[in-house]
Amino acid sequence: MAQIELENITKRYGEKTALDHISLCVRDNEFFVLFGPAGAGKTTLLKTIAGIEFPQEGLVKINGKTVNQVEPMNRNVSMVFENYALYPQLSVYDNIAFPMRSRLYKKDEAYIKSAVDRVTKMLNISNLLDRRPVQLSNGQRQRVAIGRCLVREPNVFLMDEPLAHLDAKLRHFMREELKEMQSSFNTTTIYVTHDYMEAMSLADRIAVLNNGKFEQTGTAHEMYYEPANEFVAKLFGEPEINLFPAEPYEEDGVLKLRAFSKDTSLIPRGDVSAALRENGGKTVDVGIRGADIDFSFENRGDGWVRGSVYACEPIGNKVIVTVTVAETQVRVVAPNSTKAELDSDIYLRFHTEDLLYFDEMTKESIGRSGGKRPAEKTKQAEGVVETWHS
């Protein structure tokens, strides 16, 4: 029900800069995910929007109005705290009813009862209403905290890792519920997580935050297929993307890449050759996802790279085979039936249309076969977004 804008927000704690000139626009009704490693400044960003942390520089706007000077209580935002922040002296029912009993958001008791019933049913905690927070498990506490956030009808929901302490099954279920709820409530949501699957499944858009700066802003699809740099590429996907250096060279007017101790040639698709040439023929880092690699236990000839099996981990629906190729480890996603002897020979073939190229020094993306440079595309597709790069 509201558009949230941040303009050039800087927040310092003493010497440490938690947020470094952050600008962001979260559109009305958008499910926006802030994603990044621990200590990136995600929670600080949420608290800045909520008004419980004050930025040294920059403006926070809700619905176009600058709210820097507005008290948190008057901003009408609802937040799930990472450490739950439940009121220990109140029962679960009273905890969830607490916001509706404040003078500002006063509701009558009958309404409160129905609202609490609604969220506790959805969160599957209606049997715990009389308990105190100390009598709950972490997962239950977290659900109570989500409940207290959801009973309101705020401008924006701010959720700080709301599913982090739930068990895997419940987390999956809650993910669907949140998505469903968000589309039916029509409320802007800003959601903090460090789980890439949560980020990708929930988000309309994702912003990757690192050291107080945005690395990239875009849809889940863009994050996965067109990462702006190696940092983003590594964050999304399991197993982690394979990165290895490769040296470009010209042969018969065709740009080729030499990798793995120079005994392997990769031929990039034609459309990235120009970008690679533009880069000055310097060594690049090549990235490829484990699912984009074919493998075989027999030598199939040209285009196949020989390696040896280093590890083989079945993880239920697939097997991750780690292959050592000339001292580089490459993780390959294999079908569940795969059985590989350790140290046995294995041959790999990379899908050259799925290769990602990064500058070896700056780690920024150079391009991708069959795609434009990610940064440009992000800007074109998401005209409102202004990602601030230093």
Binding site: G51, I52, P72, M73, N83, Y87, S102, R103, L104, Y105
Partner: protein
Amino acid sequence: MNQNKRTAGSLLGALGRNVVLIVYALFALFPLIWMVLCSFKSDVQMYNTVFRFTPTLENYRNVLFGTDYFRAFFQNLLVSGVAVVITIVAGVPIAYALARYDFRKKEDVAFTILSFKFAPEILVCLPVFLIFQKIGLYDTYFGLIWVYQLVTMPLVIWVVRGYFEDISVEIEQAAELDGYRWYEIFLKTLVPLIKPGLVAAGLLAFIFAWNDFTFPLILSGFNVQTITITSMRYIASDTVHYGQVAVAATIAVLPEVIVCLFIQKHLVRGLSFGAVKG
């Protein structure tokens, strides 16, 4: 057989524990019992060390109706009570500031407050006496209540500060987002959480103030008299009326004992929580 042994062992253990506790209780309570016994003795029988004597209420009549004991009792109640109320009203915000805010020399301030407790009262009494004489606070309620803050404030601040530090700041932030004003947050979310510590520390502060002897001895005259000073008056220059002193003391401990019995639960929990976790 084995089973029997074990039950016998645990029975012996329970018996031993109880015997030790009873012995200790007798040891600890004996002065009190002795005091109560003395209060029923006449001056003649006072020096008999046997427990056989004719109980008399003479001492009680003399003290309660013959002197202005009740006046001192209520004055003591007033001075200690108001001192504790002021301590709580001022000390809880101080404790909050010391727990939550980061300012320069914070630990020094906190330690200075605590150090009021180290200094013997007699050390500061004379300078305070001289100052009070000058500014007209000698022998007034206000002066005594003020100086009692030295006795009561450090305790409350240190116990309650520990409690505030244990409360996650996010709870306050959550309440802020839930639409509560700062004083509502304080009353609805913080006060219930610090209550055990506040009650225990407040009660102990009251007992310290109630029992204080040095300050009222030097800083008050005929106008304001606390019970500890009044009890002294039964020690006359020629004879010492031990029976009457005992009566005065017996009645003086009554409020403390009664309050302690009522809030025993809070007292143990309140002080141990803060100390262990803080």
